[in-house]
Symmetry: C2
Subunit: 125 residues, 2 copies
């Protein structure tokens, strides 16, 4: 479960967390609209993001807070945060310094397309 | 766990699923770049999305497959699908018919901003 947090209770009440206490955070470049990455936040990561203006996540693999860019320098300055209609996802718009992906690509999705094989996929059926 | 699926094993091998067998699917409008919603896919939902060209998700609340727009008419025609660097998130670009959100708003994030209270949030520090 999520550790204690200073997150505004009015916001905390709106979160619908997964069994690990997390909500998904979709990270989008302000202006261009590029989707940079997907990360995870617990209450405290959201609190820190809202109050510091630096995108802060919960690392599921390392089980620790992770200020994006703290080691790489590729920081994210937060422009806005919105919570979706059912409370399980955040949309975080940022100004991304450098590449968003730890592999060095601009986004974590760059060059990683899967084949869509539907016949006539561009034609409504 | 996820039910059996016809998903290409080469793709299935790249998925890093949560304990419920799911990956997050970020859904983005082709062209405008709007982030419309976040949903969830298991292997079979991804297989159906890739092979039918109609965005298909797994409903965590109803525990069933869900072809977006099947009841509302607000379908999503799939333009592309990409898997992120660590295999736990998909970026699905679509042509959205009508509003994406069941509440009637264009996206599930529309009008749901949280306050960012960081001092000088637009100024790199």
């Amino acid at each position: 479960m999520a550790p204690p947090s200073a997150l505004d209770p009015a916001i905390a009440d709106r979160l619908r967390r997964d069994p690990a206490g997390l909500v998904a955070a979709v990270v989008q470049q302000y202006g261009s609209g590029e989707v940079l990455m997907l990360a995870w936040m617990n209450d405290e990561a959201l609190h820190r993001t809202l109050t510091t203006g630096r995108a802060t996540y919960w690392s599921r693999s390392r089980q620790e807070y992770w200020v994006k860019g703290a080691t790489s320098g590729n920081v994210q300055h937060v422009r806005s945060v919105a919570l979706d209609c059912d409370g399980d996802a955040l949309l975080v718009t940022v100004d991304q310094t450098g590449p968003a992906c730890h592999t060095g690509t601009r986004t974590c999705f760059t060059g990683r397309e899967l084949p869509v094989t539907a016949p006539g996929q561009d034609q409504p059926s």
